[in-house]
Symmetry: C2
Subunit: 257 residues, 2 copies
Amino acid sequence: MRILVSNDDGIYSQGINFLVNALKEIGDVTVVAPLYEQSAVGHAITMKVPLRVVEVNKNGKLFGYGVDGTPADCVKMGIRNIMPEPPDLVVSGINHGSNTATNIVYSGTVSAAREAAIMDFPAIAISLTSHNCTRFLEAGNFAKKIVDEVYKNGLKKGTLLNINIPDVAAEFIKGVMLTKQGRSKWDDVYEKRIDPYGKEYYWLTGNFIDLDHDLTFDQFAVKNNYISVTPVHFDLTDYETYDVMNNWKIENIKLNP
Amino acid sequence: MRILVSNDDGIYSQGINFLVNALKEIGDVTVVAPLYEQSAVGHAITMKVPLRVVEVNKNGKLFGYGVDGTPADCVKMGIRNIMPEPPDLVVSGINHGSNTATNIVYSGTVSAAREAAIMDFPAIAISLTSHNCTRFLEAGNFAKKIVDEVYKNGLKKGTLLNINIPDVAAEFIKGVMLTKQGRSKWDDVYEKRIDPYGKEYYWLTGNFIDLDHDLTFDQFAVKNNYISVTPVHFDLTDYETYDVMNNWKIENIKLNP
């Protein structure tokens, strides 16, 4: 099995090391990941400037390819220009911190997997839910198991799995839960500061508002020490509103001013 | 009606001028838009560096506020820190070029509207489908009409409308079509070049593959000179796969290595 690995924390992060070590036991791994941290870049791609690719060594051996772009860039570049043959699977992670609920929208980790899904490759995004990241080894082990499941069951074209693993010791994990994207989100605050030259600048901060209270939502499952597995796609159509809007009769809008 | 206007082409672009001129006839418009072009940044937000806000004048009068960040940053900043009262509606555009099918995923224009939807404000993204942009005036007129429709009918929290307007004379527009996000997408190619110092670099290019052949898909509707109106949300859950995955029995995955 040929596996392309990427992430958004960058090729020098710890999480990608553990993911690569785990997946090397079950497949032929190619790493193409951002040279610099790309958290919260969402599904950005680089078009206005060209990209560079460099070989990155770890422990004196070729570890993978670093790209001075976004996670989505890395997946495109890995599949189109770096891998001699297309991958059987693309895995993104292990992210340092959770990617649940509304955070999925901003996540570079999920966007790397989503780019693979757009390109018709099965894909998995894996995140460890705390920035302390004490349990990368266990998360890597779970990555192998979920890859097995995807291999065994297949995944519809255009779909990826978004996995969040609680960062707790194995004995505290209550199980694996099939979940939906939660509704929890950030209540943003911009903190105003004054720079040494007397000019204002603003830092994004805020509080995460827990709006999920049901184990079938990723955020609540993870909070209760379940591993969450959410199938995600890139069809953003709101079909419920589509049905409602049939009654709007927008075809009757007069086009003349 | 208080309207927040943003875009991804930047506060100095032509499209936003036409949008503001049109919407000023029906509401109180505040402009908060990127200082620099932000096409294809997707739903990126700025967290690692602070943001600056500057007043931007046009024709000797305050036009709006320029932010050195992404479209999503601008919407957050506009609502949280710039507008004295929250908007009744957020409108993003008029984009120079179409945002149909898979392009929605990469679009800064759509992401600005989506950020508003995440924050529970009704939102509209408006794009003119050619980079020649000969018909901004007509597109601005349509913006007013669709704002009327949203005001009249209401929009479910978390939903935005993604509008694409063919860049042709009014007499060639065939009508307004309620649509779904199409499946058309880019077949990417990275063009390899050598810089003056002998080093390789790569430009993203490619061909847009038309996979839609039904007027209920945005891309095909627009290609056939219909204005497309697609309801979009940010719940990325793939419910079809969710149902299928109930048979995977992932709760039985053994967690010990």
